[in-house]
Symmetry: C2
């Protein structure tokens, strides 16, 4: 397995959370090898037990959550984010980069340092979300990397996700388009045009487009990929997160508010927590699809446990070599898309 | 109190659900007077007990959920939707119209038959959603009536909702803009421009703009109005509904899956149901803000209980005379908006 590079300074919880999460991941996964980018003086004494499974790149500069992405990447060549991405870029033995830094900085950095797969217009942020069908989830992309997407860009997201899911072992992934109704005439201008283009790709046998999907249907297990502009996708993703928190908080209040509720809560509380952790924390780590190597973004507020789970996710994509597949699929789709834009 | 006109044919569940919901509402609210638009032969024998509190307008034609709105309104002058809206339009003793018909048809019908308040560009669909703060909710608009909104239209939504909430007794409503981050530079082009316009209105003392709000923060009780394009707003609304269903379904599975879970469920199940009904069914009925009289849209799949609750909501807005207030507020805001568009 290739090595995973971890940005130990990014995110709200900084070095302590990253380091603690990394150590747990190393303990749990004997095959895992890490390149830790951060303050070497602090890191070194804590990872001696892992010998040459851990490499340290010293970095003391962090890119803060509110810095302007492009400017930060340009003016902070010694930041943990830039140094880490450069390791990923130049070293054949490194297969993935993981960071809890700001979405904009990680994306811009990945874009500038690692580079896009040939033919890809915009890399996309694509978390995996659960469904009510056990063992079945869906990928949502884009989720916030790209605002004001064109229809062609939406279709490229579909093409990339299709290849990703196929590479991960899924046959004929069902691709749906996030919209406000089932009919092809529904939605705004961009989404109507995307519907028409995806139908063309479907008819040409390039992917399995199953039509529009509404925000209340994404959990039904009827789509493996949900395609969206980064703005709507981010609205969807965050509202899902917010609603889950809201419902659990409200359920907690219901439990607290009466004797019967308290007793029910005693029996149920731990199980609900487990469900929440297992089902919903999957959205924590997401890959940027369309870059030449795997760049994984964690939640900005990732704690140690989430760092561990993000590293576990990265292990599933670290040897992931999608360039050729995505490049070929994007090239195949291109003539059908260009035609439409003439 | 003015009379409420009920479209008895619209919606997935048709006349039986509408009639049964109406009868319960009449039983529970002695002051309620209804104009029922639907098959008089079926309705009449069931409402004799209410004497002259119920008036019947015979209509046997329905506008189906999948019909083209404008075409349906034009070619079906004898439909329950059109006949009902005409009652609302022409009669001073009617103050609200309630329908579970298709959103497009109800909006187009309201637009064509009842008409917009002077100066309003687009009426908006604005349901009220709960927050974690007891007794506090937020209005989300637009929620699906208008695709591809301009920044100026978003700002008009804010102005209308501000007047609505003030008319309902709220002092200084907090207006937020749905976005993907807190900073004014975040979001797509429309939302960035809307942010700048809302800031101008705030600085001019016309409304209380509290800035951007993300999809996971809408439940925190920090905003009374959340402004959005109809496409994103619909995505948000439906994803909230879908997530609530998903979490409850999953909780049910957790309850069923073990003995301890089952016992917990026995104590908790009814309470959770009650919470869901009380908190989440509020999204069932929503007003179209910007029309000359109150047009209320129910969920297409509204059952009898939801018809009753929609009629109860309509009772709170039936004497609602917002024309002058909204007209004045829109006119006051206009110079600031036009300037920006020059």
């Amino acid at each position: 397995m290739k090595k995973i590079v971890l940005d130990c300074l990014g995110g709200d919880n900084g070095l302590p959370a990253m380091l603690s999460g990394a150590i747990t991941a190393l303990q749990q996964n004997p095959g895992l090898q890490l390149v830790l980018v951060g303050d070497a003086e602090v890191i070194k004494p804590q990872v001696t037990a892992f010998g040459d499974r851990v490499e340290i790149i010293d970095a003391k500069v962090n890119i803060a959550m509110d810095e302007h992405p492009t400017q930060a990447i340009r003016t902070k060549p010694d930041s943990s984010l830039v140094l880490g991405l450069e390791q990923l870029k130049k070293r054949d033995d490194c297969g993935a980069f993981v960071s809890a830094g700001s979405t904009g900085a990680v994306l811009t950095g990945g874009f500038m340092k690692v580079g896009r797969i040939a033919g890809v217009s915009r890399p996309a942020l694509c978390p995996t979300l659960p469904s009510i069908v056990d063992g079945q989830d869906f990928m949502l992309l884009d989720c916030g990397a790209n605002m004001d997407c064109t229809a062609v860009q939406l279709v490229q997201f579909a093409v990339m996700a299709n290849e990703y899911r196929k590479a991960m072992g899924m046959e004929n992934p069902r691709i749906a388009l996030l919209n406000v109704g089932a009919e092809s005439t529904k939605g705004n201008e961009v989404v109507k045009q995307a519907h028409s283009l995806l139908t063309k790709l479907h008819d040409a046998g390039l992917l399995n487009f199953v039509g529009n999907i509404e925000g209340d249907q994404v959990f039904l297990g009827t789509a493996d990929v949900v395609v969206s502009d980064g703005f709507w996708g981010n609205v969807l993703l965050k509202s899902i997160e917010g609603t889950v928190k809201f419902v659990f908080k409200s359920v907690k209040n219901v439990i607290k508010s009466s004797f019967g509720g308290k007793i029910g809560g005693l029996f149920l509380g731990g199980k609900l927590k487990k469900f929440k952790a297992e089902k919903m924390d999957k959205t924590n780590a997401t890959i940027f699809l369309g870059l030449k190597k795997a760049v994984v973004k964690m939640h900005g507020n990732a704690d140690a446990a989430k760092v561990t789970s993000a590293l576990q996710y990265a292990m599933t994509v670290v040897d992931f070599d999608m360039n050729a597949r995505i490049e070929e699929a994007v090239a195949k789709a291109e003539p059908l898309l260009i035609e439409e834009n003439v």
